[in-house]
C-alpha cells in the first residue's frame, strides 16, 4: 500500500522547453487521481516522470515518503498501462503477463498461479495462449490491465488507456477500471483528455493547463466551483457559456444593457466574464428569484433524446448561448425564449481568468 507525493516537480527539456512548472500533488493510499487537460498540457509528461521514463529537472517525487527521483523505472515498483497497450507482440498473453514476474525471479508455480488468478479476474482465462495480434481491441486493453495488476505494484499509472477503444467499449472498460481499482485498492494516477472519463473515475481530479495545475479537488467541487475560466470551460459538455460583462454597483451588466444582480465583489467598471452552464438556464416562468432574465432567439436545435441543446443568441451579443432543454420541449428554430438563472449558478471570472468568489470561501485540495 502506498502514498505518492510530488513536491514542486519541474521538467525542462534540453531545448529550453519547460513542460512542467512545479507540480505539487499528493495521492493518498488507494486513491484514484485523474489528471485531465488538453493535449500538450504536460499531463503525459507528468505521468512519465512519475514512472521514471523522464528525468525530473527539479523537485521531489516520493513514494511512501521515500525519495525516488534517482531510481530506475524498474526500482519504483509501479505498473503502467500505455495508450497503445505496448503488449509484447511476440509473446502469448500468458508470457506478456508473466514477463515482469519472471524478471523478478518469481518461482514458476507462483507465476502460474498469479497469472491464472488475474486472468480469471479479467475474463482472460480462455485467451492465455493467444498472441496479442489475435485479440480484439478490448481484449488487448484487458491484457494490458492484467499485466499491470499481476505485479501487485505500489502505484498504477494509466496513460489514456481507453482512447483507442470505441465509445461503447470505453464506457464498459471505464466501469471495469473503477471496479478493479476499488477492489484492489491500489493507489492510481490516471491521465486522460476525456472529461467524462475524468469526472466519472476520479476520487480527485487534477486539471492541468500549460504545465501548471489549474485546480485540484473532487469532480463535483471542480464542476460547481471552477477556480479558473479554463477549468470552467474544460469540464462539462456542452461547455459553460461565457458572456463579457462589466462590473456594476449591484452586480454586472451585459453589453446589451441587461443587469445581473450579484453580490458586490468587483470594483465598478472592471471587465469580467460571466459563466453560466447550459443546464442552469431555465425558462423564466419557472423561476421566482432569478438573477436576471435574458430574452433570446433560438437559432439551432440539437436533439439528443433525453435533452435538446438549443443554440440561442442574445440580441447585441456575438456569443452563442447554449441551453439544455428537456427532450420533450417543443422549441422551434426562430422561436423566442425568456431564460432565467439563479445567483448560485453564476460564475464570475476576472480579466485574468481567475474566479471571483461570490459568497462562500473556497478550499484548495492539492496537498
Amino acid at each position: 500500500m502506498a502514498t505518492l507525493r510530488l513536491n514542486g516537480i519541474h521538467k525542462r527539456y534540453p531545448n529550453g522547453i519547460t513542460a512542467l512548472h512545479g507540480i505539487d500533488l499528493s495521492v493518498a493510499d488507494g486513491e484514484l487521481i485523474v489528471v485531465v487537460g488538453p493535449s500538450g498540457c504536460g499531463k503525459s509528461t507528468l505521468l512519465r516522470t512519475v514512472a521514471g521514463l523522464e528525468s525530473i529537472s527539479d523537485g521531489e517525487l516520493m513514494i511512501n515518503e521515500q525519495r525516488v527521483n534517482a531510481l530506475e523505472p524498474a526500482e519504483r515498483d509501479i505498473a503502467m498501462v500505455f495508450q497503445n497497450y505496448a503488449l509484447y507482440p511476440h509473446m502469448s498473453v500468458f508470457d506478456n503477463m508473466a514477463y515482469a514476474l519472471k524478471n523478478r525471479g518469481t518461482p514458476k508455480d507462483e507465476i502460474r498461479r498469479r497469472v491464472t488468478d488475474t486472468a480469471r479476474l479479467l475474463d482472460l482465462a480462455e485467451l492465455l495462449d493467444r498472441r496479442p495480434r489475435h485479440l480484439s481491441g478490448g481484449q488487448r486493453q484487458r491484457v494490458a490491465m492484467g499485466r499491470a495488476i499481476v505485479r501487485e505494484p505500489q502505484v498504477f499509472l494509466f496513460d489514456e488507456p481507453l482512447s483507442n477503444l470505441d465509445a461503447k467499449l470505453r464506457v464498459q472498460m471505464r466501469l471495469e477500471i473503477r471496479r478493479l481499482q476499488k477492489r484492489l485498492g491500489i493507489t492510481s494516477v490516471y491521465v486522460t483528455h476525456d472529461q467524462v472519463e475524468a469526472m466519472t473515475l476520479a476520487d480527485r481530479l487534477v486539471v492541468m493547463n500549460g504545465g501548471h495545475v489549474e485546480q485540484c479537488g473532487t469532480p463535483m467541487m471542480l464542476y460547481a466551483q471552477p477556480a479558473t475560466r479554463f477549468v470552467a470551460s474544460f469540464l462539462g459538455s456542452p461547455a459553460m457559456n461565457f458572456l463579457p460583462v462589466t462590473a456594476h454597483r449591484d452586480g454586472v451588466v451585459l453589453p446589451n444593457g441587461v443587469e445581473v444582480a450579484l453580490p458586490d465583489m468587483l470594483s465598478e467598471g472592471r471587465a469580467a466574464t460571466l459563466g453560466i452552464r447550459p443546464e442552469h438556464l431555465v425558462e423564466a416562468t419557472s423561476m421566482a428569484d432569478a438573477a436576471a432574465v435574458l430574452d433570446v432567439t433560438v437559432e439551432m436545435l440539437e436533439p439528443l433524446g433525453a435533452d435538446t441543446l438549443a443554440y440561442t443568441r442574445l440580441p447585441g451579443l456575438e456569443e452563442w448561448l447554449v441551453v439544455r432543454l428537456d427532450g420533450a420541449h417543443a422549441a422551434r428554430e426562430g422561436q423566442r425564449l425568456s431564460l432565467a438563472f439563479a445567483v448560485a449558478h453564476c460564475h464570475v471570472f476576472d480579466s485574468q481568468g481567475a474566479r471571483v468568489p461570490l459568497a462562500e470561501p473556497e478550499t484548495q485540495a492539492c496537498q
Binding site: A51, G52, L53, E72, P73, A74, I78, A79, M80, F82, Q83, N84, A86, Y88, P89, H90, Y99, A100, N103, R104, R147, R151
Partner: protein
C-alpha cells in the same frame, strides 16, 4: 510489369539458360566449335579435389562473412540508435563503406595488411604476429573475410538501424517498467522483434558472400595462396575466363545456382519458422 520482366529475361534468364546449355558441351579454346558432352563436365567437376576445397572455403567464408557482417552491424546499429547528439554524422559515416567499390575496398585492405608496406601488418609484427597473407592461407582467408565483412556491414547497418527505430518506444518502456535490465531487454524484446530483418539479411548476406565477393577476392588475393581463398564463384571465373574451360565453368555455375537455391529454400523452410512477425 513488361519492362521489368524484359530486363529480368534478358539479363537473368537468358544468361542462366545459356550457362545451363553450355554445361553440357565441351568447347575448344577459341570458341570456334563445340561438342555435346552429356554429363562429362559435371563428372569432371565433382571428381576434382580442388572443387571440394573451394566448396569448403566457400562455406567457411560465407558463414564467417554473414555472421560477422550481421553481428557487427547489429552492435553498431544498437549503439547508433542510442546516440542523440550528432546521430546523423555517425550514421552517414557508418554507411559510407557501402558506397566504396569492392575493388577499391579490396585495395584499401590490401595496403593496410601488405606484408612489407602495411600499417596493420607492421603493428601485428610488433606484437609478434608474423603477417603474410601472400604465403599463409589462413591469414589470406581471414583478410578477405575482414574486407567482405567491412563492405557488407553498412548494408546490414542501415536495415538494422531502420528496424530498431521502427520498434515502438513504448514496448521498451513497458519492459523497463517490467524490471528488465538493458541486457535482458535486448535479448527478450529487441532481438526477437528484429527477427524479420535478421532473416531477410541472412538471406541477402548469404547471397552476397556466395556471389558478390568476387571483386574483393580478386583484388586482395586472386584466390591464393594455393587456392586458399578460391571460393566457388571465384573458381567459376578462373576456370572459365582464365583457364578457358567454358564447359566446366558453366557446369560449376549451374551447381552454384543449385547450391544457393537450395540454401535459400532451407532458410525459408527452417529458419523462417523462428521469425516473429
Amino acid at each position: 510489369m513488361a519492362p521489368q520482366l524484359g530486363i529480368v529475361l534478358v539479363f537473368f534468364f537468358w544468361p542462366a539458360l545459356q550457362a545451363i546449355e553450355q554445361a553440357f558441351y565441351v568447347e575448344d579454346a577459341f570458341g570456334l566449335s563445340r561438342e555435346f558432352a552429356g554429363l562429362a563436365n559435371f563428372e569432371a567437376v565433382l571428381s576434382d579435389a580442388t572443387y571440394y576445397q573451394a566448396l569448403g572455403t566457400t562455406l567457411v567464408f560465407s558463414l564467417a562473412v554473414a555472421l560477422g557482417a550481421m553481428s557487427i552491424a547489429l552492435l553498431l546499429a544498437v549503439m547508433a540508435d542510442r546516440v542523440i547528439r550528432g546521430a546523423r554524422v555517425y550514421r552517414t559515416l557508418l554507411v559510407w563503406p557501402y558506397a566504396v567499390a569492392p575493388a577499391v575496398a579490396g585495395v584499401l585492405w590490401l595496403f593496410l595488411f601488405d606484408p612489407t608496406l602495411g600499417l596493420i601488418s607492421s603493428l601485428l609484427g610488433n606484437v609478434g604476429i608474423d603477417w603474410d597473407h601472400k604465403l599463409n592461407g589462413a591469414q589470406a582467408l581471414a583478410l578477405v573475410i575482414m574486407a567482405s565483412v567491412w563492405k557488407q556491414m553498412s548494408y546490414n547497418f542501415v536495415f538494422f538501424l531502420a528496424a530498431l527505430q521502427a520498434l515502438p518506444k513504448s514496448l521498451l518502456e513497458a519492459a523497463a517498467i517490467d524490471r528488465a535490465g538493458p541486457w535482458r531487454r535486448f535479448w527478450t524484446i529487441i532481438f526477437p522483434l528484429l527477427s524479420p530483418t535478421s532473416f531477410f539479411l541472412l538471406v541477402m548476406n548469404s547471397v552476397y558472400a556466395f556471389f558478390e565477393t568476387f571483386g574483393t577476392i580478386d583484388t586482395v588475393t586472386s584466390g591464393g595462396p594455393g587456392g586458399a581463398t578460391t571460393t566457388l564463384v571465384y573458381k567459376v571465373y578462373q576456370d572459365g575466363f582464365v583457364g578457358q574451360d567454358m564447359g566446366s565453368s558453366a557446369a560449376q555455375s549451374v551447381l552454384l545456382m543449385a547450391l544457393v537455391g537450395g540454401l535459400t529454400w532451407f532458410q525459408f523452410r527452417y529458419v523462417e519458422r523462428k521469425v516473429q512477425y
